[in-house]
């Protein structure tokens, strides 16, 4: 039985990091050299990131990270199939994080509607704008109702908190 949770977001938002923070195994990565000079990151995910947790009955909870760029939206569709829920990671240090968020709210609209979603905003300590009010407002404009909160995904506890917020919505 397939149990999986998806992590998505822009390059550098922390998808690979978030999965690494909770996965039992070192994440399987499909990172290659980044040729896009507009983003100062050496590598980028082009297939998927994969991590896993083993549950007490032996089943696996699989954690998948998607590529962030829109040209890989076919991977989004493939990876979204049968997923329990979605964590959207936003990098508040980028020029227009709200526009970034919209890309994923649109790209994963069907998954979000059928399951659960959490929006985690990173780097708010150094980049406080846009603030959480702006995020909540934008999500309301798009008819998406889910938690949005600041998170530092290098901290395993915070990643667990994000997963818990997904579980709460699934349990309801």
């Amino acid at each position: 039985m397939e149990h999986k949770i998806l992590f998505t977001g822009t390059m550098g938002a922390g998808k690979t990091t978030a999965i690494a923070a909770v996965s039992e195994i070192p994440p399987v990565r499909t990172e290659v050299r980044n040729s896009d000079t507009s983003v100062a990151k050496a590598t980028t995910t082009v297939g998927l990131d994969y991590g896993e947790l083993t549950l007490d009955n032996g089943e696996k909870l699989r954690l998948y990270g998607t590529p962030g760029q829109m040209r890989f939206d076919f991977m989004w569709r493939i990876l979204a199939r049968g997923a329990l829920g979605l964590v959207v990671l936003v990098d508040n240090s980028r020029p227009d994080p709200l526009a970034d968020l919209e890309v994923y709210l649109d790209g994963f609209a069907e998954l979000i509607e059928k399951t659960a979603c959490v929006v985690a905003v990173g780097r708010m300590e150094t980049h406080s704008e846009p603030g959480l009010e702006a995020y909540a407002q934008r999500m309301q404009d798009k008819g998406v109702l889910c938690p949005v909160l600041p998170a530092n995904v290098t901290d395993p506890q915070q990643v667990v908190q994000l997963l818990e917020l997904l579980l709460i919505q699934l349990e309801a």
């Binding site: 499909t30 050299r33 040729s35 082009v46 890989f72 076919f74 991977m75």
Partner: protein, 127 residues
Amino acid sequence: MNIAPRIKDAAETVVDTLMREIKGVKAVVIATEDGLELAARAENTAQVARMSAIASSLAALGAVAGEESGLGQCENVAIETALGHILMLQARHEEAGLIVSVVTGKDAVIGQALYFSKQATLALQRA
């Protein structure tokens, strides 16, 4: 895109060559390993619109398959479809990883397509 002009030129040349030499070829796309198109030609542009990104993902998954099975690095991914074949080959230039994708119809001879495609990757690697 941070690909040197001489590499881009080499890619254009390779596309020309493969479109000319491979029997039954329908499209040739050369892309960066992160899915951005460098040079391409196709009978029908719809065929190649997504090819760069798809090839990037498939090549990356091919790499994982090679590692996981202990067989080393992935050289190419070959897909057989109802109406033809798609070959995706790695061209490892030291400055940039490239992927050469060749789409052929059923009338292609796979061995021939593979031979010319491999020659092309060597040319790209030397650019």
